[in-house]
């Protein structure tokens, strides 16, 4: 049954993804992403990408995030069923709501990422298809490179999403990055 | 000992300061002593001083592997306070604080104890309540503490961030007015000179490499300058406590961890209190020379490397500019680290050991500078009488086995968290 309730992103209250653009840079939320947490492979490990690598295409990608753990990231409505046989794992948990997915692309993308990420993002070291779980501005993120040239996708825990978005927007200021679509801005109040 | 005063300074000025005597002698070690203290930091030297002064025991040698005060005494951020949470600590540190108040005159060496107050900012309710519990306890036992309103804090420390966009809005602060800072090197030198004047042999560049134990009794130490016999041996080597105690076959509830510190370039008077940030790990005070001395949290892993690293320095810097946004352009001039003897409950050990005639003063974590006179005093007592004073009775080794740990932070047997 299709939900009557509205799904909300931690970044924008509207139905549309939040997007910001700058010189050689597009920073965008990628809502409607399905994330499946998989652990305990019942199949041969060789069939699955090891930590640091991924398999699949840009619609559906399996990321090796731990010695025995994967994330399946797929595009689609949040309730779409993933195209992977989850019986092949001891644990298969829908974690779509746990993560917020962002895409950052364009020639300036590596420079913005390098402000918060210690990984060597050089194309030799981190080619399309590579993935990593790492610290980014003190937040845990899953970072990977889809096949598309100069694009990086990342997942961050939903509760951190706005903090990360604000961090990235500020880091991208020197590329004159600005929000493209009008979307209600979030007040931050701490007392 | 030639007394120091404005008059002796004047007198010596006439002779172009050519006639100042040595602050302490540099004798060769004798073959045996009544008491040997291992470690020429503040604690070892204070212990020797009080052994001589309070107990008349002057046949004492302090053995230092390098130069006096080159350990944590020479690299600490010099906060002296007694604002502890637990009563046993409050009483001990208050005793020490009282000794500090008369120390310069007692030693005839200006240790520059500046009672400018130690202030901890309050931000959130649970944290404020914890500060109140702490301060009220101190007041009950007769120490000093006050709680300031936001406005009072602003008057006292205007450089804090009181803007509406402050990352951590300040709701008040906890202040111990009698607390303050002192000149760390002077503490080592002052105790050394005063101990020397009472006959204690201070021997530098003399590393203890073994402790000789015969039939359960310590009888002397092997050193890089030969064997030295002793009736009693006191260990006061801070970050190296496990190592030295290990020479007598002891294993201790201690891990060695790094604590970093740094100084900015000197500036004109800017900060009138010693400041602790209540919502994170950051604290700072300004020296008389003008630098801001800053520190943060432990690095958090066992280490004897005694040097700094970038992530922690950056984190402390971030806290500094978050708390005081106007200091962003102030520059760090030097950063370093010390090896902390972290115990399993975050509280020191000043005690007898299972080996007769062997005593330990260690486990000072990042807080032993303020204890220097107090621990020297009770450690001397413990060595002289072969039993602890009531102030250090709770700081024995058996507290772990018996379940009487003194856990200020309430984090349990995880030294890195204390």
């Amino acid at each position: 049954m299709p939900s009557q309730l509205m799904i909300r992103s931690p970044l924008s209250s509207g139905p549309r993804d939040r997007i910001a653009e700058g010189r050689g840079l597009v920073l965008r939320e990628r809502g409607r992403t399905v994330v499946l947490y998989l652990e305990g492979a019942r199949c041969a490990l060789e069939e699955l990408p090891p930590v640091g690598q991924s398999a699949g295409n840009d619609r559906e990608r399996l990321l090796g995030i731990g010695p025995d753990a994967w994330l399946l990231v797929a595009e689609g409505g949040a309730t779409a069923s993933p195209g992977l046989n989850s019986d092949r794992f001891e644990v298969a948990l829908d974690q779509s709501h746990a993560w917020t997915r962002l895409g950052i692309s364009g020639p300036s993308a590596p420079a913005v990422l390098a402000k918060g990420c210690v990984l060597d993002l050089d194309s030799q070291q981190f080619p399309p298809g590579a993935c990593a779980v790492t610290g980014f501005a003190r937040m845990r993120v899953v970072l990977w490179r889809p096949a598309e040239h100069l694009r990086y996708d990342l997942l961050v825990g939903r509760s951190y999403a706005l903090s990360l978005w604000e961090w990235l927007s500020e880091a991208a200021l020197e590329f004159r990055c600005e929000e493209v679509k009008p979307c209600r801005h979030f007040l931050q109040r701490t007392n | 000992m030639q007394r120091y005063s404005i008059f002796s300074l004047l007198r010596n000025a006439v002779s172009y300061h050519r006639n100042w005597p040595e602050a302490w002698r540099s004798p060769d070690p004798k073959p045996s002593y009544q008491v040997v203290i291992i470690g020429g930091g503040g604690h070892g030297l204070a212990t020797a001083y009080y052994l001589a002064k309070e107990h008349g025991i002057t046949d004492v040698a302090v053995l230092e592997k390098g130069w006096l005060g080159g350990g944590n005494t020479g690299r600490n951020t010099t906060n002296v306070r007694s604002n502890y949470i637990l009563e046993k600590n409050q009483r001990f540190y208050e005793f020490s604080l009282k000794l500090w108040e008369g120390l310069s005159r007692d030693l005839n060496f200006n240790v520059m104890f500046s009672q400018r107050g130690v202030l901890i900012t309050a931000h959130f309710d649970p944290q404020t309540q914890a500060l109140l519990r702490r301060g009220n306890g101190m007041r009950v036992i007769g120490s000093d503490a006050v709680f300031l309103t936001r406005e009072e804090v602003q008057r006292k420390v205007p450089v804090l961030d009181f803007s509406p966009t402050a990352r951590f809005p300040i709701t008040g602060a906890f202040l111990q007015p009698r607390a303050g800072v002192a000149r760390h090197d002077a503490v080592a030198w002052g105790f050394a000179r005063a101990a020397d004047a009472r006959g204690v042999d201070i021997i530098q560049n003399c590393e203890v490499t073994g402790i000789r134990v015969e039939r359960g009794r310590a009888v002397g130490v092997e050193t890089t300058r030969g064997f030295i016999a002793a009736k009693k041996i006191g260990i006061a080597v801070a970050g190296h406590t496990s190592h030295v105690a290990g020479m007598a076959g002891l294993r201790l509830p201690i891990e060695s961890h790094l604590l970093q510190a740094m100084v900015t370039e000197p500036i004109k008077p800017f900060l009138q209190v010693s400041l602790s940030f209540g919502a994170g790990h950051f604290y700072t005070s300004q020296t008389d020379k003008g630098e801001l001395v800053m520190g943060g949290d432990l690095d958090g892993y066992n280490s004897y490397a005694q040097r700094g690293n970038l992530p922690m320095i950056e984190h402390v810097a971030a806290a500094a500019v978050t708390v005081m946004p106007s200091i962003a352009r102030l520059r760090i001039m030097r950063h370093w680290a010390g090896i902390m003897d972290m115990t399993m409950d975050g509280t020191p050990i000043i005690a007898k050991t299972p080996v007769d005639g062997l005593y330990i003063d260690g486990g000072w974590c990042y807080g032993g500078f303020k204890a220097t006179p107090g621990s020297g005093w009770v450690f001397a007592y413990t060595i002289a009488r072969d039993r602890p004073h009531e102030l250090n009775e709770p700081f024995g080794l058996e507290r772990f086995a018996r379940g009487y740990t003194i856990d200020e932070r309430g984090v349990g047997p995880y030294p890195a968290l204390h």
Partner: protein, 999 residues
């Protein structure tokens, strides 16, 4: 208008098409683009730039770059004001404002200089010997002492500029863009290695920018330009200029501060400075050398300058740093400086060489230029009031002691060269141990510990040719060590320089010129901190013999320059005073940073707003819209209460709490940690980590559990639910959530790897909300589908799933507040929608959201423990939870419980407290005393106003508390000036039988 009296018409690396206007000490001046503040001031004839630290003596520009001890200025205004800025490294730009510091009322006339009158009373360490009387007066003496000390002033407003960090990786990092560094980069770059070349200057060239040396093919700077073009063409090469490597850390990580926009306004969004974390596989240190000073009388007067600096001002900036100069050297390098100065229009009258037989080539060059050579002699002192006017020269004996009556030579510029110290700082930071080389009387890099090698002047190489060859070899070796195939780098081989036979004659290592009975004048070793040779001698005399003691007693090398020009000289003085050699004295430890680095730069983006990232729950925005006051709670932002117009916080909290007790309320509990456990051994695992039983828990039932640390102390509490036979859902407290997750994982993977279970942290997936109060069931029943919420179907501690608005939710009948309540977990994206549904459905029951303060009130009333009580020192028994401990079987912490200290009847136990007058609030954070001694018996851990009892209540921990019910004590808060009689009682104030829960 643009008159710069000491500037030459031609020459230099400045752009005369671009005049730059700046203000110094309130006066306007002109300089050229390419100038530093120091060069521009010298061009304008400004000689007194600052005042010294201790004696407030006038000081001028002494050096050329990072080594500068004297010319420190207050730069910029307002939030951009920067103290202690080295004029030698400030590139001027239009509108620059700077002023002298540490002087009042002005730099030319400074009242602080009065200290100089008493300077005999102020030897090193004088403050240790006085100010002890009257007792406790130190604080009063301290105030004026502090005011005299310090140097510049901190800004008085927040810095408006941004800072950031950046990570980078390379195969070979080359530090230093002088000839050695350039050659290294060329050699390494040719191999295809990823190379990063870093230099602190505004452009590449290093010393060549100031020496104007020649190669066989032409000016060396042409070669530099060609090399730069070639380097820039390499795809794998990055050049960072205006970038100082300030620290060399473990695993070959370099900390670099890049001055992005110190010399110009930053572009929008651009940082002022950027700190790079460069991860290098191999490092070449081509950091050059620092010229050092010689101690002689009044060697600090403005006009006394390092020879290499004077040469640099002449060549690089076309500035004549004086009208008439005398050179004083102990080595060859000052000869070139003399010739260059002469060529640039400074009248160099004499060159005084400590060596009796200087090299003849050099002597004849001087002769050709008409400069008198005075060998075997020394400058004994400089004369002049505020500036050098003349220098007194004497012949010296074997030991360096001046003989006879000195001859005075007038001059306004006195150039000194005491030889060169290789810049071994980074090598030493990388744990290398510098070794003393008597041939150049300096410390050279020792054996590298990390993957690094030094080259060029940094390794004591003197001639340009040797530096280039050395750099190239180091670059090639580094690339090879990083696994690259070497390829020839033609530019390196083309850089041929005919050997002119200079630089081979050893220096004469004398650094202290003391005439017999020469006590009148001060001989400075450390210019910044005013440390003299006498201070060092005094320290040694008083027994401060270790080099570290001398440093700390005299403050030698402890200034912002960290002794770059003074340390080795000082060590030599120590050696002399001890009668030993420098090698035995050793060095003080080199520590980062190599040059001081701004706190803002080190903080990067983390300073301020982004300091520790905040976490927000799924309903965050809703809370804001509903007027919630948000509180920081660890990383989380949580509603404290929802303020209605005109309400105070206390009123709001009461209203919310009463609303729950009497009707229904809704609270966000998303911040609780949530773990799912899967596997046949999950239940066994729970048995081992919790103090209570789990095997008996039926599916669809929840249970409250307590975990201990291994030392027997309560670690965390929460509920765990069996949602399938081998599938559990655990919640933890907000604060401990990450710790619990880590520690459980430790138990599983380290302690009991044999157990077959998996633990997944699902905290982020679920939004959590509790609907509580007598009406909560009715509200829930209206929205939830596919779940029977009747008490029979879903009893207290029951669990079920249902849907709300078509979204499946997990419903737990659990209560923290003590009322009928349900915890509802929904996929976070639907959190707000479901929250709104509940609010709508509850409207007719008067549902209201409540915050953590009301939640706290309710749980205190119920006697449930939380943060204040769970202080990391209590046992389960202290909290009255001892009966939960299962009779048998091990669990974490059990073994520790039998220790006497954990069973001591005097332990602090949980109690409830009420004011005796049933009216006066119990002071928060009070201690519990009996009024008879100066001990306290316990403390107040939580306070609240009870909505049911309608009076103030409190929880506390009290020694032997459970046996003291009914006793009268005082809750005393000296901090608040309050002392309230209280009656000890049970910690459960409402519904001790749990009727509400089971309703």
């Amino acid at each position: 208008m643009n008159e710069q009296p000491f500037r030459n018409e031609t020459g230099g690396l400045i752009d005369r098409a671009r005049p730059v206007r700046f203000v110094f000490n309130g006066r306007r001046y002109w300089g050229w683009d390419g100038d530093t503040l120091a060069s521009a001031l010298l061009a304008n004839g400004v000689r007194i730039v600052g005042r010294s630290f201790k004696y407030h003596r006038p000081r001028g520009v002494f050096g050329l770059g990072a080594e500068e001890p004297n010319a420190l200025v207050q730069l910029g205004l307002g939030g951009r004001s920067e103290p202690n800025s080295r004029a030698t490294q400030i590139e001027i730009f239009d509108g620059l404002v700077a002023e002298s510091q540490n002087c009042w009322p002005s730099v030319r006339f400074d009242l602080g200089a009065a200290t100089g009158l008493f300077s005999r009373l102020l030897p090193a360490g004088f403050y240790y010997k006085t100010f002890m009387w009257p007792p406790r007066w130190w604080m009063r003496y301290e105030r004026p002492i502090r005011a005299m000390a310090g140097m510049g002033r901190c800004a008085d407003a927040p810095d408006p500029e941004r800072y950031e960090h950046r990570h980078a990786h390379c195969d070979v990092a080359v530090v230093g863009g002088g000839p050695a560094g350039i050659a290294a980069a060329l050699a390494a770059g040719a191999s295809g290695a990823r190379v990063c070349l870093v230099d602190e200057g505004a452009r590449l060239g290093g010393m060549l920018l100031s020496t104007g040396e020649q190669m066989d093919e032409g000016p060396a700077l042409d070669w530099v330009a060609e090399a730069e073009t070639e380097l820039q063409a390499l795809p794998n090469l990055r050049i960072l200029t205006r970038a100082t490597v300030f620290g060399y850390y473990d695993d070959n990580q370099l900390g670099i501060v890049e001055r992005v926009a110190d010399h110009r306004a930053p572009a929008p969004g651009e940082p002022r400075q950027r700190v790079w974390h460069l991860h290098a596989r191999q490092v070449v240190l081509a950091t050059g050398a620092h010229e050092r000073s010689i101690a002689f009388g009044d060697n600090d007067l403005p006009g006394v300058m390092l020879a290499s600096a004077a040469r640099g001002y002449a060549n690089r900036y076309a500035v004549r740093p004086g009208r008439a100069a005398v050179m004083f050297t102990n080595n060859d390098t000052a000869y070139g400086a003399a010739l260059d100065l002469q060529r640039s229009g400074v009248a160099v009258t004499a060159l005084v060489d400590l060596r009796a037989e200087p090299p003849t080539v050099l002597a004849s060059r001087l002769a050709a230029a008409g400069i008198e050579l005075i060998p075997g002699s020394a400058a004994v002192h400089a004369t002049g009031g505020r500036e050098v006017r003349a220098v007194a020269i004497s012949r010296i004996d074997e030991a360096g002691v001046p003989l006879g009556i000195p001859r005075e030579i007038p001059c306004d510029l006195l150039c000194i060269s005491g030889g060169w110290n290789p810049a071994v700082h980074l090598h030493a930071q990388a744990r290398g141990k510098p070794v003393y080389d008597p041939a150049i009387a300096a410390f050279l890099p020792g054996n590298p510990v990390q993957a690094e090698r030094s080259a060029g002047a940094a390794r004591g190489r003197a001639s340009l040719g040797a530096c280039i060859a050395d750099g190239a070899a180091a670059g090639a070796a580094a690339a090879a060590a990083a696994g690259f195939q070497l390829k020839p780098a033609p530019l390196v081989t083309r850089a041929a320089i005919a050997d002119d036979g200079t630089g081979q004659t050893p220096l004469r290592a004398i650094w202290r010129i003391v005439p017999a009975g020469g006590r009148k004048r001060k001989r400075f070793v450390d210019l910044q901190n005013d440390v003299t040779d006498e201070d060092i001698a005094l320290a040694v005399r008083e027994g401060y013999r270790s080099v570290e003691h001398v440093k700390r007693y005299t403050t030698l090398g402890m200034g912002t320059d960290q002794g770059k020009t003074s340390n080795t000289v000082g060590f030599a003085h120590i050696a002399a005073a001890l009668g030993g050699d420098i090698a035995a004295v050793g060095t003080t430890s080199f520590r980062p940073p190599y040059v001081p680095v701004a706190l803002g730069a080190l903080a990067g983006m983390e300073g301020g707003k982004h300091f520790l990232p905040n976490r927000r729950t799924a309903m965050h925005e809703w809370h804001l819209g509903a007027g919630a006051l948000m509180l920081q709670s660890g990383p989380w932002l949580r509603p404290q209460c929802y303020l209605r117009p005109g309400e105070s916080i206390d009123e709001a909290v009461r209203r919310e709490a009463i609303g729950v007790r009497n009707g229904v309320g809704l609270v966000d509990v998303s911040t609780l940690g949530k773990l799912e456990l899967f596997g046949p051994d999950a239940v066994e695992f729970l048995e081992r980590v919790y103090i209570n039983r789990w095997r008996s828990l039926r599916v669809d039932r929840c249970r409250y559990g307590v975990m201990l640390r291994e030392d027997g102390i309560v670690f965390d509490d929460g509920t765990t639910t069996r949602i399938g036979n081998t599938h559990f859902f655990m919640t933890t407290t907000t604060g401990q959530a990450p710790l619990v997750a880590r520690r459980l994982d430790y138990c599983r993977s380290v302690l009991w790897p044999e157990l077959d279970l998996r633990i997944v942290n699902v905290t982020e997936q679920w939004a959590g909300m509790t609907i509580a109060g007598p009406d909560s069931r009715r509200v829930l029943a209206r929205v939830v589908e596919k779940l029977d919420v009747s008490s029979e179907a879903l009893p207290y501690m029951g669990y079920g799933t249902g849907t709300i608005g078509g979204i499946s939710v997990r419903v737990f009948r659990i209560s923290f507040s003590g009322d009928l309540a349900y915890e509802i977990y929904a996929p976070a994206g639907f959190g707000t929608a479901i929250w709104e549904r509940l609010m709508q459905a509850g409207a007719e029951f008067g549902i209201a959201p409540y915050g953590i303060d009301a939640l706290n009130t309710l749980r205190v009333e119920k006697g449930h423990v939380a943060g204040g009580e769970l202080d990391g020192r209590v046992t389960a028994d202290d909290l009255g939870l001892g009966r939960m401990i299962k009779p048998d079987g091990d669990f974490i912490g059990r073994r520790s419980l039998s220790r006497p200290g954990l069973r001591d009847p005097a332990r602090w136990q949980l109690v409830g407290l009420m004011p005796e007058d049933r009216n006066t609030p119990v002071p928060p954070g009070a201690k519990l005393v009996d009024g008879k001694s100066d001990r306290y018996l316990g403390e107040i851990t939580s306070t609240a106003w009870s909505p049911v009892l309608r009076l103030p209540i409190a929880l506390g921990l009290l020694s032997g508390g459970r046996s003291r019910h009914g006793e009268r004590l005082y809750a005393t808060s000296p901090l608040a000036g309050r002392h309230v009689p209280v009656i000890v009682g049970s910690s459960t104030f409402v519904d001790p039988e749990g009727k509400r829960l089971h309703a």
